[in-house]
């Protein structure tokens, strides 16, 4: 069974994924569960159009990007260890500095 999730990118992060802000995807069946850690690898390999270092740093997101699951800060959910649920809404948003 694939795992349907909605990925969203904003605050400028969408520029790294071909300017497409919303991606409805089905993560392929996996022996182990999908976590945000494994999702980031999948994104790097399947969605990132630009240089990966503009989105990732090591196994996590680069500084300045906030990861939200169902409108909640991933820090409240275990960050990289969070186990993704069916139909989760995962938003990667770049913090804005402009005024």
């Amino acid at each position: 069974m694939t795992l349907p999730v909605k990925l969203e990118f904003s605050g400028g992060a969408e520029l790294l994924v071909n300017k497409v802000r919303s991606h409805q995807i089905n993560l392929p069946n996996n022996d182990s569960k999908w976590t945000l850690r494994s999702l980031l690898i999948w994104i790097r390999d399947n969605l990132l159009q630009e240089r990966p270092e503009l989105f990732l740093q090591g196994e996590t997101v680069r500084p300045g990007i906030l990861v939200l699951v169902n409108d909640t800060d991933w820090e409240l959910l275990g960050e990289l260890d969070y186990v993704i649920q069916e139909n989760d809404n995962i938003l990667f948003i770049s913090t804005l500095h402009g005024g």
């Binding site: 904003s10 400028g12 402009g98």
Partner: protein
Amino acid sequence: TIPAVNQLDKESIARYSRQLILPEIGIRGQLLLRKTSVLIVGCGGLGCPAALYLTAAGIGQLGLIDHDEVEISNLHRQILHTEARINVQKSTSAAYACKQYDIVLDATDNVATRYLLNDGCVLAGKPLVSGSALRFEGQLTIYNYKGGPCYRCLFPKPPPPETVTNCSDGGVLGVVPGIIGCLQALEVIKIAAKIGRPCTQRLLLFDALDGSFKAIKLRQKKDNCEVCGSSPSITELIDYEQFCGTRATDKDKVLTIL
């Protein structure tokens, strides 16, 4: 300091009548607004509407700082109410000014200054009402207030310089910082008058093209935060341009002052 007088003169009652009759505000709230001082850092797209509405609401003292002195002189001061004491700070040492005000409003346009203001507010123990805008999006939250996180709790490290876009490069639709600046003024009013639910531990995301708002639940203050945690390693201001690798400015900005 503003003299503590526990009544409003007739002129004030007339001027603020429409908010005085709100039970949540009343004389109590109006007096609280009047004895509150607010520092607005940045007099551009965010700072101007914030200054306008804070003056209109009866905030007792406003300090305004902008890195560009010419722009300050362009600020249409004549539309700001003359009863509010407007102090225009020539100094760019915004962080030192944080100590002199009750609430600080971040209306700046670059990363380095945002970290500077954050640390300044944490060190001075002041809430920081932070807004930002770019292209068609806006963000808003209150840092360092009632157990909520500070900027470094969320972003301990600054973004790589090549990932930072400012309004001169990316563009911005003017009404977007207008909306965020107004929302910042609202949050300041709620903190000052002690009403409603201030936007702390919550991040408001605004998407102007879609016409939608989203409220994100944020982490609490982090115990290991370098500036606001239980054993802070940052106990005085640092060199923020060096820290961020970028200048504390939004160079080549064409500033449109309303």
